[in-house]
C-alpha cells in the first residue's frame, strides 16, 4: 500500500497538512487507528480489509476538532459516517480533507462534503451477506426463541459502553443513560438495565446508523448488538426510504413525516 504512504508523506512535507489519521499495524498485526504528525512516520500507514474501526469517531474530539489541517483515511463506513455527521452539523466543510479509495485502489482526495456525498452515492449501502444471514437467523426464530436469545445476550453485557464509544453517531456530551433525574436507564448491568440501554441506543440511531458494525466489533464480549441498530436502519429504509449517510442535508427519518406513511397496527 505504498502509494498511501507516499501520499501521506507528500502531504505532511507540503506543510498544508499537519496530521494524518489512518490505520497502522497493532499488536499481533491487527489494524488500529494511528495519528501521524511527522512525515517520517508515514511508513506506518496501512489500508486493507481489516482496517474497519470507524475513524469518524475522532472527528469531533477536543484535541483535534479545531485542527483544520488534518487528513482522514476513510473506509466506506467512515465516508458514510462523515456525510451523516455533516447532516447533523457536527462536522463542517473545511474541518478536514478525506482520502478515500476507488474500486481499483487509487487514492481519491475529497475536500468538500458535496464531493464525499457524490462518492458515497457510488458505494453499496446494504448489509454484507454474513450480516444479512445473522439478521435472517434471528428474524426466523419464534418470538420466545428471540426473547431467550436476547435475554441471554443482554445478561452478559457489563455496560462498559464500548458500543457507544466506538459509534461516531454517539457524540452527546451527556448521554441519556447518564441522566439520573429521572433515572431513565438503571445503572447496574443487570439484564433489565442492559435491555433498556440497548433498546434506547438502537432507537436513538433510527435513520442515523450507517451499519458499519463497529459497535458489535468493539464489544469485549462479542454481543451481536449491531443487529439491533441494523434492524432499525433497515426499517428506516423500508418505511421511510431514509438511508443514513447518503445526503448531507436530508432531515432525520423521525424528524419529518408523510401523511401517507403506511401502517397497519393502529386501530
Amino acid at each position: 500500500m505504498n502509494n498511501l504512504q507516499q501520499k501521506a508523506q507528500q502531504l505532511l512535507e507540503s506543510g498544508n497538512y499537519g496530521l494524518i489519521v489512518g490505520y497502522e499495524k497493532g499488536t499481533s498485526g491487527k489494524a488500529r487507528p494511528v495519528f501521524i504528525r511527522k512525515a517520517e512516520h508515514a511508513s506506518k500507514l496501512i489500508f486493507d480489509e481489516s482496517c474497519d474501526q470507524n475513524i469518524a469517531v475522532y472527528l469531533y474530539r477536543q484535541e483535534i476538532k479545531h485542527d483544520k489541517k488534518k487528513v482522514i483515511v476513510a473506509n466506506h463506513h467512515t465516508l458514510k459516517s462523515i456525510v451523516e455527521l455533516a447532516a447533523e452539523n457536527q462536522v463542517f466543510d473545511g474541518d478536514f480533507m478525506v482520502l478515500a479509495f476507488a474500486e481499483n485502489g487509487d487514492i481519491i482526495e475529497l475536500n468538500t462534503f458535496k464531493e464525499i456525498e457524490k462518492h458515497v452515492a457510488t458505494l453499496y449501502h446494504g448489509l454484507t451477506e454474513a450480516e444479512a444471514a445473522m439478521m435472517k437467523k434471528i428474524e426466523d426464530m419464534s418470538l420466545e426463541d428471540r426473547w431467550a436469545f436476547w435475554e441471554n445476550e443482554f445478561s452478559k453485557c457489563i455496560k462498559c459502553y464500548a458500543c457507544r464509544a466506538s459509534c461516531p453517531m454517539c457524540y452527546c456530551p451527556t448521554c441519556t443513560v447518564e441522566i439520573n433525574q429521572p433515572q431513565w436507564i438503571s445503572v447496574p448491568s443487570h439484564t433489565l438495565g442492559n435491555l433498556e440501554w440497548h433498546v434506547m441506543r438502537a432507537m436513538h440511531l433510527a435513520g442515523r446508523c450507517v451499519t458499519c458494525g463497529q459497535c458489535g466489533k468493539a464489544c469485549p464480549l462479542e454481543l451481536p448488538i449491531q443487529l439491533l441498530t441494523y434492524k432499525v436502519a433497515l426499517d428506516s429504509k423500508q418505511f421511510f426510504d431514509s438511508v443514513a449517510g447518503t445526503s448531507i442535508c436530508a432531515d432525520n427519518a423521525l424528524a419529518i413525516y408523510k401523511p401517507e406513511d403506511h401502517e397497519n397496527f393502529i386501530r
Binding site: Q90, T176, Q181, A255, I256
Partner: protein
C-alpha cells in the same frame, strides 16, 4: 419538603356513588409529602374553594391536588382559587376521578383503588410542578393587510377605526379587487362602484392606513406580536408625490391596443394606464412589458407631456420593512378562464366569455359603456345562454366544491341582459339553484317570473361555432332528458371560483397551511373561521373559500375584531406550558449537541439557533433555542430529542416518569 393538599370531591354523589371518598382521602393522607387530605361534597362550590384557600394559607401548602371532575372542566376554577390564596396556579393539579373513574366503573374496591392510584399519580406530579408565570409577549400594534379587495378594505377600515396602524398591501395598481369590476350587485342591484368607491377613498384618506399599491410581500418572519414584513414596491416608473393624476400622459400614450386586464381583455388600455376611472390611488403606472420605450428605447411621449415631470423611466423596485403585530390575508379569489373547458371550445370562440367579462360588458364604465354587445362583431345578442356550474362541482375536472356565488350572479346577469335588451331571451342551464342568502331566493324568483329568464335544468355537453352562431347542445332533465339545441349569439360560463394566483407562494412565505385547491386553511371550520393555525395571522374573505360580498365583509370585520382584540392589551398573555432547551453550568453550557435535527420537527417553526458566546464575543457553541412566542407546547421535540436537552413545562420528563411510577407501584 413538599406540603401537598389533597381534596377529594364527592360531586354530590357522582363520585361517591361508586368511589369510597373517605377511604381515598384517608389513604392519600399517608402519601409522602401530603399534609392535608380531606373530602367534601362539592369542591367546586364556593365553600369548597374556600376550603382550598384556607388550607393553603393555614398549612402553607406548596401544591394542591383536587380529585374531582376532568381538568378540562374546572382546572381554571381551582387554579384561580389557588392564585387568590397566593399559591402559584400551576402548582394546582386535578385528578380526574369522575369521568375517568366513578362514572365508568361499578361500585367496587377496584374502583376505589383506581381512584387512589390516580390521586397518588397526581400527587407525585404536583410535587414536581414548578411555579410558572404566564408569558407576556410585547405586541406591535400595527396590522399588515394583504390584498386590497373589499375584504382588505373593510378590514383595514375597521382596524384603523379601532385606533391601530394598518399597512394595506395591494398587488394591482389600484385597490378595489374584483368588486370594482362588477356592474350591479345582487340581490339589491345597487351599482358596485357606487358602494365601493367611497370606501376606497376612505382607505386612501384614513390617517391610520398606509397604502402600498403595485406592491407584493417579499418575506415574513417573526411571530405573533412581532412580525417583520418586507414589502417589495414594484417600480411604477413614476414619482407619486409629483403626479397630480391629471391623465395627460394616458391620453397622449401612442400604445393604445393593450388588452386591459381590468376589462378582462374586452377593452383596451394604454402602456401608461390607470386600471379604471375610479382607481385609488388615481395615479398611472407604466406597463414595462408593452411600453415602446422599454422595448425599443425611444418614444417618451408621456415624459414630454407630463406637466409636473413625474415620469421616472429608470426607477427601480424599492423595499419597505414593516414591524407588525398581526397579519390579515385578504387576497380574494379568481375565476377560471374559458380555455379550461375543452367541450366549450378551449377558449377559441370569442363569444364564449366568463362571468367577469359579462360584468365588464354590463358595467357603465366598461368597454361597451354598459351595452351588452358580442366581443366578436359588437352586435347585440338576441339569445344568450348562461351555463352554471362551469367547472364547479365536477370531480373529473378536479374542482369538486361548489363556488357558492355563481347561481346568484348568473341570475343577475340574465336579469341585467333582459333590462338592457328587452327582446333578448336568456337561457340558463343549471343543476341546482343555490340562493341561500337574505332576499336571494326572492331575487331568483323575480328573474324567472318577471324577467322571463328561461331556466333549463341540465348540463351542456358541447358548444361549437357554426356560421356566426354558437350551437349549444344540452339536455333538459325536466323534459324526460330530451336533447336541447340552442343557436345562441353569446354564451356566458359561470366558471368556478378558484384561489387567486400566487396564493400558494404567499402561504409558504407566511407558513400558513392551505388546502389542495390553494385556498388558505382556517384554524377550525366552525369555531375559528377567520384565524389560521399560525398564531397572529388571520383570514378574511374569498381567500379562504369563495364568498359573496356580504359574507366577505362580515368575515373581514370579524378578522378585524380579532386583530383589534389582540391589540387591545399591550402584552399578549400566553400559557407558559411551552418547551425550553435546558442549559447548565460551563464548560458544557447545554447538553444540546447542536445537531438541529429537531428544527423540522416543530410544526410552528418555533425552534431556531442560539449562539452561546463568551465575554469577548467569540462563539463557544451553537445550540437550539425555542421561541416562546411561537411554541404552542405540543412536546413533539421533547420526545424527539435524543440527548433529552429539551423539556416542556407542565409535562417535563421528571413529572411524566413519576406519574408512570406512581401509577404502577404502591407506597
Amino acid at each position: 419538603m413538599a406540603r401537598i393538599g389533597v381534596f377529594i370531591c364527592h360531586c354530590g354523589e357522582n363520585i361517591s356513588a361508586t368511589v369510597d371518598c373517605e377511604k381515598v382521602a384517608k389513604v392519600a393522607s399517608e402519601f409522602p409529602g401530603v399534609t392535608v387530605s380531606v373530602d367534601y361534597k362539592y369542591m367546586c362550590s364556593d365553600p369548597g374553594q374556600n376550603m382550598v384557600k384556607e388550607a393553603i394559607l393555614e398549612h402553607n401548602l406548596t401544591g394542591v391536588v383536587v380529585s374531582a371532575c376532568s381538568p378540562r372542566m374546572h382546572e381554571p376554577t381551582f387554579r384561580n382559587a389557588c392564585a387568590e390564596a397566593g399559591l402559584n396556579p400551576f402548582l394546582c393539579e386535578m385528578a380526574n376521578i369522575r369521568e375517568h373513574c366513578s362514572w365508568v366503573h361499578e361500585k367496587s374496591d377496584a374502583t376505589t383503588d383506581k381512584a387512589i392510584d390516580i390521586v397518588r399519580t397526581l400527587v407525585e406530579k404536583v410535587k414536581r410542578n414548578e411555579a410558572l408565570a404566564p408569558i407576556y409577549v410585547p405586541i406591535t400594534k400595527t396590522a399588515v393587510v394583504i390584498g386590497g379587495g373589499v375584504a382588505g378594505i373593510q378590514a383595514s377600515l375597521d382596524i384603523a377605526d379601532a385606533g391601530h396602524k394598518v399597512v394595506l398591501v395591494e398587488r394591482e395598481p389600484s385597490i378595489g379587487g374584483h368588486m370594482s369590476q362588477l356592474s350591479e350587485t345582487f340581490p339589491t342591484l345597487d351599482c358596485s362602484q357606487c358602494i365601493l368607491t367611497p370606501r376606497m377613498v376612505d382607505v386612501a384618506r384614513h390617517p391610520n392606513i398606509t397604502l402600498y399599491t403595485y406592491a407584493e410581500i417579499e418575506s415574513v418572519d417573526g411571530s405573533i406580536g412581532n412580525f417583520n414584513v418586507k414589502i417589495r414596491l414594484k417600480s411604477k416608473s413614476l414619482d407619486e408625490k409629483l403626479c397630480t393624476g391629471c391623465g395627460a400622459c394616458i391620453q397622449k400614450c401612442p400604445v393604445k391596443k393593450i388588452p386591459s386586464e381590468f376589462e378582462q381583455g374586452l377593452g383596451k388600455r394604454t402602456a401608461i394606464y390607470v386600471p379604471f376611472p375610479q382607481a385609488v390611488p388615481n395615479k398611472p403606472v407604466i406597463d414595462r412589458v408593452n411600453c415602446t420605450y422599454y422595448i425599443k428605447g425611444k418614444c417618451k411621449v408621456c415624459e414630454i407631456v407630463c406637466p409636473t415631470k413625474a415620469i421616472r423611466f429608470d426607477q427601480e423596485d424599492s423595499f419597505v420593512e414593516v414591524q407588525a403585530g398581526a397579519l390579515l390575508l385578504a387576497t380574494g379569489f379568481d375565476v377560471l378562464k374559458t380555455n379550461f373547458f375543452p367541450e366549450y371550445g378551449y377558449g377559441k370562440y370569442e363569444d364564449v366569455i366568463d362571468g367577469l367579462a359579462f360584468e365588464r360588458l354590463a358595467s357603465a364604465s366598461g368597454p361597451t359603456k354598459g351595452e351588452i354587445r358580442r366581443p366578436s362583431d359588437g352586435e347585440i345578442p338576441k339569445k344568450i345562454v348562461f351555463i352554471a356550474c362551469a367547472g364547479s362541482r365536477d370531480p373529473a375536472k378536479g374542482i369538486e366544491y361548489c363556488s357558492k356565488i355563481c347561481c346568484m350572479y348568473t341570475a343577475k346577469h340574465a336579469m341585467l341582459y333582459k333590462h338592457k335588451v328587452h327582446e333578448g331571451t336568456p337561457y340558463i342551464f343549471y343543476m341546482d339553484i343555490r340562493a341561500t342568502g337574505k332576499m336571494y331566493e326572492e331575487f331568483v324568483r323575480r328573474a324567472i317570473e318577471e324577467d322571463e329568464v328561461k331556466y333549463i335544468r341540465g348540463r351542456v355537453s358541447q358548444v361549437y361555432e357554426k356560421n356566426g352562431k354558437l350551437i349549444v347542445r344540452g339536455v333538459d332533465t325536466l323534459l324526460m332528458g330530451q336533447a336541447v339545441e340552442i343557436e345562441a349569439d353569446m354564451v356566458v360560463l359561470a366558471t368556478a371560483g378558484i384561489a387567486s394566483p400566487g396564493s400558494e407562494e404567499l402561504a409558504q412565505k407566511l407558513h400558513v397551511s392551505y388546502d389542495k385547491h390553494k385556498f388558505f386553511s382556517e384554524a377550525h371550520p366552525k369555531l375559528k373561521p377567520v384565524e389560521t393555525n399560525t398564531a397572529g395571522i388571520f383570514l378574511a374573505g374569498a381567500c379562504q373559500s369563495t364568498k359573496d360580498i356580504p359574507e366577505t365583509v362580515a368575515a373581514a370585520s370579524a378578522a378585524a375584531s380579532k386583530v383589534a382584540g389582540l391589540f387591545s392589551n399591550d402584552l399578549l398573555k400566553r400559557d407558559p406550558l411551552i418547551a425550553v432547551v435546558k442549559k447548565c453550568a460551563p464548560p458544557l453550557y447545554s447538553s444540546c449537541t447542536g445537531c438541529f435535527m429537531c428544527i423540522p420537527v416543530c410544526p410552528y417553526q418555533a425552534i431556531d439557533k442560539e449562539e452561546i458566546k463568551d465575554r469577548s464575543g467569540n462563539i463557544i457553541k451553537t445550540i437550539s433555542h425555542i421561541n416562546p412566542g411561537l411554541c404552542q407546547g405540543c412536546g413533539t421535540c421533547v420526545a424527539f430529542c435524543k440527548s433529552k436537552s429539551i423539556d416542556i413545562l407542565g409535562y417535563n420528563h421528571d413529572q411524566v416518569c413519576a406519574e408512570v411510577e406512581a401509577l404502577l407501584n404502591e407506597w
